[in-house]
Symmetry: none
Subunit: 408 residues, 2 copies
C-alpha cells in the first residue's frame, strides 16, 4: 500500500453552541455548506476533544495536542512558541517570555503599557538589548508586531516558574520577578538584572530621545509574561518520519509548528485576520503537498468572529471557507485530509469553550459512514465516535499507511 | 457569559439490561417517561462509564468519579466515607473503619454478628470507647444505625492496609488485624490494642449488664472492616470554585460529598428508601440552588428495586421519578442540569453491573441533538457519544461557563 500525504485543515474556533440569533442553530448548522458537507458525505466523521472532555483549550495547547504532543507534558507557557513564531531559533531548555515595550516614569511606574502604540524603531531598540550575557545566561531579544517582543534565556538550570514582571495595569509599579520554585531562583535573578540593565539602555536610546522630542512616549522598559520552557521532544520527522510544513498567518501557530520541526510557508494575502485570502491559503497548502508529506492549514477567521460574538459574521466566514475548500476535490487524490478545528469559540461565549469540535476525514481507503452534514451534531453520529486531539496524528498516520506495527 | 449553576441528578442504579418480564425491554424503556424524555429531547445525550468500560462500580467509587475524584487514586476503603456520613469530622490522613457491635463469648467466639439486633444504648456504648489514645494515635468512635458504627484513627504514619477483624461469620473467633504492608504495622497493633481495651470496657458496661438481665445479647465487642484512608485532595471549592451541597437520604453519599467539601441538606421525608418523598427531594434541590453553585441530588430507590430483582417495582419507581422531575422545567432556567446515574443495577443481575449509564444534559447553550427518549439505547446515539464519569465535572463546568482556559 502506497504511503499517502496528510493535510490537516484547522478551521480555528469553528465549533459553536446554538444561538438564538440563528434560530437556535450553530453557525455551522446555519451556514450553506457544499464543500464542507462533501467531507462529511465522502468520509468518516466524529467529534473530537482537542485536549480532554470539557477542557477549554488555548490555540497553542490545542495545536500541540493535534500534532500529537501532549500539552500537559510539553506546555508551560506561551513564550517559546511566540519566540519561534518570530523566527527566533529556540532550543530545548531555553526559557522564553512574551514581552511588551512599555513607558515608565523615573520611579518605574507604568505610564503606557503599549509605549504610545509604538510602530517603528522597535527593531533598533531590540538590537540594543539583544545578546547580553548575565551570570552565564545568554539573552536574546527580538521585536514583534508594534509594542510586542520576545525574550529568550539560554543556559543551564533555567526554569519557567517565575512570576510576570508585567503588572497588567497602568499607574502602578512594574513588578520584580519572583521564583515560584527554588529551581527558578537563577532565572528570576537574571530576569530582574536584565530588566534593570535594559531600562538604562532603552531610556537613553536615540530612538526614545527622538520620540520624546516629538512628544511621543518612550519605549523605555520591557515587561514580561507567559514564561515557558522549550520542551525536550522528538520532532515530527523523528516521531512520524514526516516532512511537515504549515500554512498560517498567525505567528503563534507558526511558532508551534516550528517547535516540533515543521517549516512555515509564507503566503501573500494570508493575514491571519478576517480579510485573509482563503483561496490563496488553500492553494498554498495544495502546493506545499507536492514537496511535503504533511501540511497543517490553519484558517483563523472563524475564531475571530467567535471572540467578537458575531454570529452572522461567523456564518459568512464559514461560507467563504466552504467555497475556498472547493479546489481540494481534484487536487488531493493521494492525500488523507482531516477537516476539523482546534477548539470551539461559541459566539454566545465570546471565547474558547471546552465543547468538542467536529471532524471529518476523507481520502483513499477511509471507511465512509452515513453522515451527510458537517456540523457539531450530525458528525457525532459518525464512524469515528468521540476521539481526543492526541488521537488525531496516529489516526491520520495509519490512514496514510505510515503507521508502525506494534507487535507481530 | 454569565456563570450558570449546576444540578447533577443521580438516579441511583437506574441503568439496566433487557428483562424477559418486560418483553425484553429495560425498565427505562418500558416505563412511561414524559419528563425524562424532555431531558433527552431538549438536551444532549450520551452514555457514560462511571469508572471505566466494564468496571462494576460501588455507589461510593462511582460518586467520587462523578464528582471528578479518581477512585483509583482516592479510594482505599469505605470507612472514611461512612464516618463522614455520620458527621465525624474526618481529616486527610485519618484511617477509618466500618464497625459492627457484636456479641462474643468469653473465648471471643462470635455469638451474634449484630449483637441481638441492638437498637438502643449504642450511643452510650460508643461514648465509653471514644477518645482513647494508643501509641500516639487518637481514636474516635461513633455509633451508626442499629449495630453499626465507625472507628477513626488520627495520627502519624497510619495505613489502611490492614486485614478485617470481622470474621464475617458466627461461631468462629474474631480475627487479629494483620498488616498487609510494613507501613501498616503501627495501625494493625493499635487496632488490636483498641479491640482488646474496648472489649473490657464494653463487656462490663451498664448498658450490656442491663441487656443481659433481660435476656438480650450484649454488644460487647467491636469488629472492623472496610479500612480506608482519608485522601489528601483539594475540595471542590479549591478545584472548581464551587459551593456545593447534596440532597440524599443515604449517609454514605453524604459522607462522600462532605469528604470533597460539600454540605448536605436535610430533607423531611428523604429516607433513602423506596418510600422516599421524591418531590420533596427535588424541591429541596431547587431551593438549594438558590444559595449553592452546585447541587448533587441522589435518588436511591431504583437501585433498591434492582438489588431486589423487582422489574415492575423499578418501572413504577422510574415513573415516580419522572413525575417528580416535572417541576424542574420552570425552576432551573439558569442551571445546567445533568440527568444520569452512578451505575446500572440490572434486575436480572440483582447487583451493580459495569454497563454504562444513560446521560442527558440540558441548559442554556447546550448543543441539542436529535435523541427523543431517555433510555439506555436511544441516548447512545446522542451528541455526547460515550464519556467517562471523570469527564462529567469538567464537562458541566465548561457548559456552566466556569472552566479555566489551558493555554492562550
Amino acid at each position: 500500500m502506497d504511503k499517502l500525504k496528510i493535510l490537516m485543515i484547522i478551521c480555528d474556533g469553528i465549533g459553536d453552541r446554538p444561538t438564538a440569533e440563528l434560530k437556535n442553530r450553530t453557525p455551522l448548522q446555519y451556514a450553506k455548506r457544499d464543500n464542507l458537507d462533501r467531507f462529511a458525505r465522502e468520509g468518516i466523521c466524529g467529534i473530537m476533544d482537542p485536549i480532554g472532555v470539557g477542557i477549554r483549550p488555548g490555540s497553542d495547547t490545542a495545536h500541540l495536542s493535534l500534532l500529537g504532543y501532549d500539552p500537559n507534558e510539553v506546555y508551560t507557557g506561551r513564550g517559546p512558541f511566540e519566540a519561534a513564531g518570530l523566527n527566533v531559533d529556540v532550543r530545548p531548555g531555553d526559557v522564553a517570555f512574551r514581552c511588551n515595550f512599555i513607558t515608565v516614569d523615573e520611579k518605574l511606574k507604568v505610564v503606557d503599557r503599549r509605549a504610545g502604540r509604538i510602530k517603528s524603531g522597535t527593531h533598533e531598540l531590540a538590537k540594543s538589548i539583544d545578546g547580553m550575557e548575565i551570570d552565564g545566561v545568554k539573552i536574546l531579544f527580538k521585536e514583534g508586531v508594534e509594542h510586542r517582543g520576545v525574550l529568550v534565556f539560554r543556559g543551564k538550570a533555567l526554569s519557567p516558574y517565575v512570576t510576570d514582571t508585567d503588572p497588567h495595569a497602568e499607574g502602578v509599579m512594574i513588578k520584580k520577578a519572583k521564583a515560584l520554585a527554588e529551581a527558578a531562583n537563577i532565572t528570576a535573578s537574571v530576569l530582574n538584572e536584565f530588566i534593570a540593565r535594559s531600562y538604562k539602555i532603552l531610556n537613553d536610546h536615540e530612538v526614545n530621545i527622538k520620540r520624546m522630542k516629538v512628544g511621543k512616549k518612550p519605549a523605555n522598559m520591557i515587561v514580561t509574561r507567559g514564561a515557558g520552557i522549550v520542551p525536550h521532544t522528538k520532532n515530527i520527522k523523528e516521531r512520524y518520519g514526516l516532512r511537515g510544513t504549515c500554512v498560517t498567518g498567525i505567528p503563534l501557530i507558526k511558532g508551534i509548528c516550528r517547535t516540533v520541526g515543521m517549516d512555515a510557508v509564507e503566503v501573500d494575502g494570508a493575514t491571519g485576520g478576517v480579510d485573509t485570502d482563503m483561496t490563496a491559503k488553500v492553494k498554498a497548502a495544495v502546493r506545499a503537498l507536492k514537496t511535503y508529506d504533511f501540511v497543517l492549514l490553519n484558517i483563523k477567521a472563524p475564531d475571530i468572529y467567535g471572540h467578537d460574538g458575531d454570529a452572522f459574521g461567523k456564518v459568512k466566514c464559514i461560507e467563504k471557507i466552504d467555497k475556498a475548500l472547493g479546489i481540494l476535490k481534484d487536487e488531493c487524490k493521494e492525500t488523507i485530509i482531516a477537516l476539523t478545528a482546534d477548539h470551539s469559540t461559541p459566539v454566545i461565549v465570546g471565547d474558547h469553550s471546552g465543547d468538542p469540535v467536529p471532524i471529518a476525514i476523507i481520502g483513499k481507503g477511509v471507511r465512509i459512514d452515513d453522515v451527510k452534514n458537517f456540523d457539531e451534531i450530525s458528525v457525532a453520529k459518525g464512524g469515528l465516535g468521540r476521539i481526543k486531539g492526541l488521537d488525531l496524528m496516529p489516526l491520520l498516520l495509519d490512514l496514510a499507511n505510515r503507521s508502525k506495527k506494534f507487535g507481530a
